[in-house]
Structure formats: C-alpha cells, structure tokens
Assembly symmetry: C2
DNA sequence: TCGCCATGCAGAAACGTGTCTTTCCGAAGC
DNA sequence: GCTTCGGAAAGACACGTTTCTGCATGGCGA
C-alpha cells in the first residue's frame, strides 16, 4: 500500500499495470513483449490496461536488465578547434543522415559523440556499438571501446592495425586514377591538385594516388595544400595554384567547396572553364549542377556508405552472421558535367537531376 | 564467492572495485563522485584502483537510479518520404552542430530521433529533454512528450498552443520586410518570391510577410511555390518565375539552393545579375561568396539558435532558474553581396570571408 | 569521567525491468 | 482413485548504481 500510493507522483510503472489488470508483473512483461505462453485473452486485456494507463517501460531499467540499449555512437574526427565539423562537407551530413535512417529502420538510434576521449560523455551513455568516421591511426577512443567489448565499425579503412569489427570505404586510389584518366582523355596536359595538409586517410590516399599517376604518365606534380578545416584557406590555395608559373590546365579539388573556389579563382585570372581549365571536384552537393559552368563531381556515395556501416554494426551487435562481408568497398561515382569536357563548344545545360536514389 | 568468481566474464563493476580496494561500495561511489566526507588518501586510493581495473560505471544503472540520462532528443520535422532531411539545407546541419557542441559542453549528448511518433524508438531511449526543430501545429510527438513530463524546447515559435517549455526563433517577418526594403532601395520595382508549398512556420510567416509588404507598397505579388523537399523542383520553379509575363526584376528565394537555381534560370533567359535581376536568398552556405556574381544571403544564425535552444533546455532540466529568458528571438543577418546592388558597375570580388564566429 | 560532535566508513534499500523457477489446478492415463 | 502432465500465472532474484541511515572511533569541553 505504501508503495502504490507513494508512486502517485511518478510515471506509471509495470507494477501499476499489473495491479490494475489484476495480474502479476511477470504476466504484464510477458504479455507486452510477446514472450511467455499466455492465452490471447490475457494478452489483449493487459495491453489494453497498459494503454489506458499510458504505460511506457523504463528504457533505463530495460537496458540495465537486458544489457542492450539500442543506442549507437556516431563519432566524427574533428579538424581544428570546432568540436564538430560534419557540416563542413555535405559528405558528412549525407552519411550521417543515411546512417540514422538505417539505424532507425532496425530499431536503433544514433548518439552524436565527440572524437576526443573525454570520458565524461562517453561513459555516461550506454552504447551497443559505435560508428567512427575516418578514425586516426591508433585512435585511443576506438581502442578503448574495443577493449571494453563494444563493436566498432569505421567509415574509412582503419590504419595502424586498429582492431575494428569492420569497415566500409571507397577505393580512393582507383577513384582518383579514373578521374585523372578522364581529365587526360578530355585533353588535359598538366593536371593540378588542390589538397589538404591534414593526415586523414582520405587526403593521404588521394594525394599519393595523384603522385603515382603523375609518375606513371611522366608529369611533374602540381599541387597546393591547405588546412581543410579553414573555410577561407581553400580560396587562397586555389588562387595560389592558378598563379603558379607552371599553371595546370586541369585541376582536381579534393574537398567540397573547392569547386566554387576554383571557379572564382579562374574568373580572377580570366581563365575560361572548360576551355582554358578543366575542373573536377569531390563533392556531394547538387549545387554543382547549376553553377556556370556545371562542375564535374566525384561522389563518394555517402548514403550507401552510411547504410552499409550501420548494417554491419547491427549485425555484429545482434550476433547474427549474415552473408554480408565485414569489410566493404563502395564504388565511387563520377558525375560528368561541362567543366571537364572540351568537346561540346556550347555549354550544355544539364537537366535538373532527380534524387540519386541509392 | 559465487558472485565474485561468476563476474569474471563481465566488465568490472563497482563491487569489484570495492573488493580490490578493501572498502565498501558506498565508499567507492562517494570517492568517484566526490560526494561523501572522505579523506583525500581514501579518495585517491579508490580512484587508482578503479583506474587499474578499467572500471566504468554502468550508464544504465546510474540512469535508473538517478532518473537522469544525460541524453537530449533532437527531432527534425520531415518533408516528403525521406526520414531525415536535415542535410537538405545547411541550416539544419549548422543548427544541429551548434546544439551538439553546446550540449556536450554541459555534459549532455544528442540523440537523433524521427519526428514520426513511432513509439518503438522514442520509448526505447531515456530522454532528459528534447529539442524539436520547427514543430507542426499540435504536433502529437511534442504533446506526448510534455504529457510525460519531458521538457521540450523548440526551434521555431510553436503554433497551435503547443505546450513547450520554451522556444527560440528569428523574427521572420522583420527579416523579410527588411530584405525587401533593401531590394527596393537598390532599385527593384517588382520583387518576386520563390517559396515553398509546405505548411511549416518559416515558410508561412515569410510568405505572409511578403504579401503584407506588397500590400503596403502597392505591388502585385509575384511568386511561385514548389515542394521544398524535392531537389529538382526548385530549378523548375525558378524557371517558371522568370518566364512569367510579369517577370520580376528582383527575387527573394526562401530556401538554400534557390540562389544557384535562380542564377541558372537567369542565365537561361539571358538576364544579367544584378543589372537585370536583383537576387537575395536565404542560406547559410559560404558558397554564395564565390558564385558569379556573389549572392546576397539572409542568414538565420542557426549556430546561435542551436546554442540558445540547448541552454534553455538544460536550464529547465536542471531546474536552475537563470535570468535567461525562456523565449528568445535571435536577430537575422543580411550579408550583402554583389547580387543585390546595382551601384557598383564592375563586379567587386569580395575577399574570402573568415569564420563568422558566433 | 561522561557526553557530544565530527569524522570515516559500511549496510541496505531502492530504481523498474526481464526471466528463471515454482506453484497451482484441471484433465487425462493406468 | 491416484498419478502425471501441461497450461497459466505468481514469486523472487538480479542487473549496477546512488543514497539514506546508521555505527563506530576519537578528540574535546564540561
């Protein structure tokens, strides 16, 4: 009695439902979770009473008992001082969105967490697993998580023998090589690169692929690098690249804003695109379909990556061994627009593109 | 004994730490949380033992006991069928990022949740409070949350007498009126509007403000609306707007991609910007500093909004009554660039802008 | 010398579930 | 008629914390 009256100021618990339905706690639990062997009459009766009381099981208690929280961490490595830069490039936003949708479809939710190993937050939330975007070599957060038995799946091949459960990545080398070939086919004689001076895997792989390609075709590398987290450094670096005495006649920009940066720099130097300068940049933004001229972009397919990462992670958590591989390579997509084609003399207005649909 | 040996396969619990340190569970808890009255010697000893065992308190158990989870929900109303569209417009991404940072700084983490009232996910996570972006009138999710005693703070003034704890918003009417005045000052005779046919508050307020302004200055409204969630519909609507017999000589685009859409449409019709057509669009993207010409944008200051929303929410959760108002209006920022100025005959190249810093 | 307070720590009761084990009861088998 | 069997539901414990209460001990003033 002291119990049932004392509970008045809290939410309705499973005890209240049991009392109201005239059954035991066990029966309520079994009825709501479809577990035990109960006649349908009891089941529906309990469900009806629970609904009437507005009963919601306590997530904390359930988590404590079952050991599963239904929460996945999402961590983005941070460049510069801002805690989160995932809006800097549309890639991160797209990837996060796809991951969120995929997780939700399987009953999980995503918690956004910092890449720094501030234990305060990390240990204050019960995680079933974690998605790590572009982990650094020997990332302390990842090693700590794995040491505690929490599955970790990374977007981006992990370096430094990081003990992740699985990973998904593009074949960055192949993507860059293919794109450079495309530029060469379009008539480029000297291809330049606008790249970052950060040490993340994407930048490193792309840059070395560029250098390999140069070596293969016997071209001197022409590149400028800048801190990718600085929004104005890109424009300056684009300017530097086009101001060089060995000015390239084609440029690949590694980061999302490089397309407009390079277009602006080209205008400043009176260079016409694509006549005087061929352009490709890595971006997920549909804005490049409507620039003057439209810019050829390399899409890393963040939606497919985000989805795949979450599927692998949840499969690992639930212990179900689907045939799905634990390490997946997602093909990239070169969306060819006017900026990388010298063929068509008049600028073809590309029709509005619908949703890419994957 | 059966206890301590049986725990071998799990993580180290508080009991293990207590046993290893030769103290009681209470002492461990107090030492780690800085609670009781203990000599510093005991404190450091317990901490050292806990570190050695790699002890991490169970978030679930703590949540169950204290009733606080340290988790805040983040919900974005969804247009169309995609579960999440917060990447569609840079606004959402910026806002989410700022909110995440602010929450983290105060020891909270954000959980991304769907706006649909699928109870599965919502009731599976223990929330201390929720941020709702642009809730619909009488939103069922919000009412349900409030009914269960969970504080809700919304980005966007709630309509339909929604019982939220607080809200933060821009003064959309004032922003639109000021911007239209700016265009009129620049010489616009007939200002058109590119708007959405969705019923969200932002679109509605902005559109009615436009209609009011037209009425006040005695101009016939010229606008086209389209489903804002459809990525290609914007370009088509921009085209429609400039194809009208009563073609406007200035346009305000309500959504992020409208700037490039309108630039592209203007090119198709041979209209020069800003000579033949003045342009403003609402966007948070820095890309518009580098377009040809640079486009004047209206910034809604999502970073300030995201921060303010979280501060209000956490204040409410922790019950501390700061002087901070529960309802805040954040001023907008009109970033004037070449597209809305007829004065300068030659296109001035705006210098690269640094981080906006708020 | 006795009582009192401050200090340092331990015991045990919750928090709200899930689930293993047990009990109860009617019906069927020998 | 007694046992067995199986269905339906109740009891009780455990999950790992936090925290309230309470027991010692020793120093101090009266």
């Amino acid at each position: 009695m002291s119990r049932s009256t004392g509970r008045r100021l809290g939410r309705a618990g499973i005890r209240d439902v049991a009392a109201a339905a005239g059954v035991s706690i066990t029966t309520v639990s079994d009825a709501l979770n479809g577990k035990g062997r109960l006649p349908d009459a009891t089941r529906s009766h309990v469900r009806e009473v629970a609904d009437r009381l507005g009963y919601r099981p306590s997530a904390a208690a359930r988590t404590l008992r079952t050991g599963k929280s239904g929460l996945l961490g999402l961590t983005v490595t941070t460049y510069g001082d801002e805690p989160f830069t995932f809006t800097e490039f549309a890639y991160f936003a797209e990837m996060a969105r796809a991951a969120t949708s995929a997780a939700l479809a399987r009953g999980y939710a995503l918690v956004i967490l910092p890449a720094t190993s501030r234990h305060d937050v990390w240990s204050n939330v019960a995680l079933d697993g974690t998605v790590v975007i572009d982990p650094a070599d020997g990332d302390p957060v990842v090693t700590e998580l794995v040491r505690h038995g929490i599955p970790v799946v990374s977007d981006g091949r992990p370096g430094g023998a990081l003990p992740v459960t699985g990973w998904v990545d593009n074949d960055h080398e192949a993507a860059v090589l293919g794109l450079l070939d495309h530029l060469a086919d379009a008539g480029a004689r000297r291809i330049g690169l606008l790249t970052g001076n950060t040490t993340d895997t994407y930048t490193r792989l792309s840059t070395t692929a560029y250098l390999h390609w140069c070596e293969r075709v016997g071209q001197d590398p022409v590149y400028e690098s800048y801190p990718a987290h600085d929004p104005c450094a890109g424009a300056v670096a684009a300017d530097r690249l086009l101001a060089r005495p060995d000015r390239p006649d084609a440029v690949y920009g590694l980061f999302d804003p490089n397309g407009t940066d390079l277009l602006a720099a080209a205008r400043r130097y009176g260079l016409r695109v694509p006549e005087d300068l061929l352009l490709v940049c890595c971006s997920e933004s549909t804005l490049y379909a409507a620039t003057e001229p439209p810019v050829t972009t390399l899409s890393l397919k963040p939606r497919r990556i985000g989805t795949a990462v979450v599927q692998i992670l949840i499969d690992a958590i639930e212990g179900l061994d689907t045939g799905r591989p634990i390490e997946q390579v997602i093909p990239t997509d070169l969306i060819i627009r006017a900026s990388s084609q010298r063929r068509s003399p008049r600028t073809t207005v590309s029709p509005p593109r619908g949703p890419t649909g994957d």
